[in-house]
Amino acid sequence: MPPLSIWFVRSALVHLMLGFTFGALMLGNKGAPFDARMWQLRPAHMELLLVGWLIQLAMGVAFWIAPRWWEPPRRGNVTGAYAAFGLLNGGLWLVILGSLFRLPPGWTFVGRVLEAAAAGAFLWHLWPRIVGREG
C-alpha cells in the first residue's frame, strides 16, 4: 500500500471512530437524556461518516488498487491525489467546526468548496488510470 493510501485509510479510520462516538452519544442521549445539546452533533456525525470515513476510504483504496502504468511513475501524476487529501481533510474540518461551534455560514461554505475541489483534484489524478489492459 503506497504512503498516500496509508494516510487516507488511517485518516478514514480516525473519522470512523469519531463518527461512531458522536453517534453513540446522540443515541445514548435519545435513550437516557443527559444533555440537550447532543442533538447538535448530528451534522458533524454525518460529515464525519459520509466524507471523513466513506469518501476518504474510497479515495485511499482507489489510489492503491486502480491500474498502474508499466513504467515509472507507475501511478502517473500524483499531485492531484495529494492535493485531494489536504483539501478533503481541510474542508471536512471547516464544516465540522462550523457546525459544532455554530460559526458563521462562511465556514461551511469554504469547507464545502474545499471538499468539491478535493473531488476535482482526485478526478484529475485518477481519470487516466481508469483503463483496461489494452490501455
Binding site: M1, P2, P3, I6, V9, R10, L13, L16, M17, F20, T21, G23, A24, L25, L27, G28, K30, G31, A32, P33, L49, L54, L57
Partner: protein, 138 residues
C-alpha cells in the same frame, strides 16, 4: 475469501434487502394508512442501509483484502474480528427493534437504545484496533 468475510458480506446483503423493504414501507406510509410504527422508521431505514449494508460490506472486504499483518497472523486477531461482527450486528438489530418499539421516555426500549449505542461503539473500536496495524506498505 476467509469465513468471517463471507459472514460479513452475506449479512450485509440481508441488511440491504431489509433496508430497501423499510424504504418501501416509508413510501407506502404516504399512500395508505398502515398499522406501522411511524416514529423511528426513517432512522432505522438509514442505519440499516449505512451501517448494516455499507459499513458491514467495507468491514468484510477490508478484513479480506487489506495487507496482511504478519506471516503468523495475517488478519491480525480473528477472534477480535468475530467479536466485532457480533457487536455490530447485535447493536444494529437491538437499535432497530428499540427504535421502533420505543413509546415513552425511560421505558425499557430507551435503555436498550443506550445498550445498542455502547455495542456499536465497541464494534467500531474493535474494527479500528484490528485494522490499524494492517494499513502499511510492503
Amino acid at each position: 475469501m476467509p469465513p468471517l468475510t463471507r459472514w460479513l458480506i452475506r449479512t450485509a446483503l440481508i441488511y440491504l434487502v431489509l433496508a430497501l423493504i423499510a424504504g418501501v414501507l416509508l413510501a407506502a406510509r404516504l399512500l395508505w394508512s398502515l398499522p406501522l410504527p411511524t416514529a423511528g422508521l426513517d432512522t432505522v431505514y438509514l442505519h440499516l442501509f449505512m451501517v448494516g449494508w455499507v459499513t458491514q460490506l467495507i468491514f468484510g472486504v477490508a478484513y479480506w483484502m487489506f495487507p496482511t499483518y504478519s506471516r503468523e497472523a495475517p488478519r491480525r486477531n480473528p477472534l477480535l474480528g468475530r467479536i466485532v461482527y457480533g457487536l455490530l450486528n447485535a447493536g444494529l438489530v437491538l437499535r432497530a427493534i428499540a427504535e421502533l418499539g420505543r413509546t415513552a421516555q425511560g421505558d425499557v426500549w430507551s435503555w436498550l437504545l443506550v445498550l445498542s449505542a455502547v455495542l456499536l461503539w465497541f464494534a467500531a473500536a474493535g474494527f479500528v484496533v484490528n485494522t490499524w496495524g494492517r494499513i502499511r506498505g510492503r
